[in-house]
């Protein structure tokens, strides 16, 4: 696929009101199969022009950097930017309400029929595909870390993988020790 056509920064639309935010986020949460990230960008940048492509990237990088579900953080930052605290709540409600209702329906079906052989087979297939999808995503995000010879970064990534994935140490301790160490290494490497 071609890279995105150069998006001229034409007049951006006026910041949306709270109802518009709610409607917009409802519309992406019900179609966001496999995650809502691509749908959110399509809505906010391409369809409604509420943010320029650069603004979107800035906001999203900030959200990735904070703990918690990335797209919920995005909803909070975008909603607050346009409509304050209530705007953030409107975005969150739109993003969460339909998927929670859908997934609870699926969970009820699973508890009831999860042991039927045909459904077992389908779920086993889906679980295997889901694992493949996240492996592919891992490779994509790992590329820049390993390609750039970015000082200590590859070693930190491998150490985190070993501590959490192989040794199965509790995440709290791994993060409490690993994060300051990684930041200190990055600081030292950059000097």
């Amino acid at each position: 696929m071609l890279p995105n056509p150069p998006e001229k920064p034409p007049g951006l639309a006026a910041p949306p009101g709270r109802m518009e935010i709610l409607r917009g986020f409802l519309s992406i949460s019900v179609v966001g199969f496999g995650g809502v990230f691509p749908w959110a960008r399509r809505l906010v940048v391409e369809q409604r022009r509420w943010l320029s492509p650069d603004e979107f990237n800035e906001v999203f990088a900030f959200c990735q950097f904070l703990p918690g579900p990335n797209m919920l953080n995005f909803a909070v930052v975008f909603g607050a930017r346009c409509g304050g605290g209530l705007g953030a709540l409107a975005a969150l409600a739109g993003l969460l309400a339909p998927p929670v209702a859908i997934v609870i329906g699926l969970a009820a079906l699973y508890e009831r029929f999860g042991d039927l052989p045909a459904l077992r087979g389908v779920l086993a297939g889906e679980a295997a595909a889901a694992a493949g999808l996240i492996i592919a995503a891992t490779l994509k995000i790992a590329e820049p870390v390993f390609r750039r010879r970015a000082g200590p970064a590859p070693y930190v990534a491998v150490a985190m993988f070993a501590a959490v994935g192989l040794a199965r140490w509790p995440l709290l301790w791994v993060l409490l020790i690993g994060t300051p160490l990684s930041i200190a290494l990055a600081w030292w490497w950059r000097r």
């Binding site: 919920l72 087979g121 492996i135």
Partner: protein, 175 residues
């Protein structure tokens, strides 16, 4: 299966919410450790099933937490788990967004960002490993995982096609 209460869910997920640097996928190993290995809320197979259901449903991938909550304590459990997983981090984000701009030029900000990236990459790699081990209990499942990984990495095919193929193979008892 041990019995867990709504309070357990609230405490675990509220803490996890603040640890989820790199998003929900980064804390999958910790979710698995708590739900399967420590808490014995479910089997590893059930965990892999729930991750698959969460991927199949539309919406943000925090839905895995909603499913675990439902399994442990029904409708109330689902809602409590979801709010606990989203609330603390959203509050932190809201407050952080208001102060972060002030430090745009600070040199430590770049070091913090550079230090956090490999942490989140390592965590997500661990998630992929844990999920693949839970899901790949047969040669057929292993093949589906490998093919999906290759196709999704090298092509722009919509992932739902791979999920559809996997469902058909699973229905035909080939997994």
């Amino acid at each position: 299966m041990k019995h867990a209460g709504v309070g357990d869910l609230a405490v675990h997920f509220a803490l996890l919410s603040l640890l989820a640097v790199g998003g929900v996928n980064a804390v999958v190993p910790e979710l698995h450790r708590q739900a399967v290995e420590v808490g014995s809320w479910m089997t590893s197979r059930q965990f892999a099933d729930m991750f698959a259901i969460a991927q199949l449903a539309p919406g943000p991938n925090v839905m895995i937490v909603t499913l675990i909550g439902y399994h442990v304590a029904g409708l109330i459990g689902a809602l409590v788990a979801t709010v606990a997983m989203c609330g603390p981090s959203c509050l932190v984000t809201y407050l952080a967004a208001r102060t972060w701009q002030r430090f745009e030029e600070a040199p430590w900000r770049a070091a913090v960002q550079a230090g956090l990236v490999p942490i989140s990459v390592g965590l997500i790699a661990a998630s992929a490993f844990v999920l693949a081990r839970a899901a790949d209990r047969s040669a057929g499942a292993f093949a589906i995982t490998a093919i999906t990984a290759i196709v999704c990495y090298f092509t722009r095919l919509h992932p739902l096609w791979m999920f559809a193929l996997a469902a058909v193979l699973g229905y035909g008892n080939l997994v």
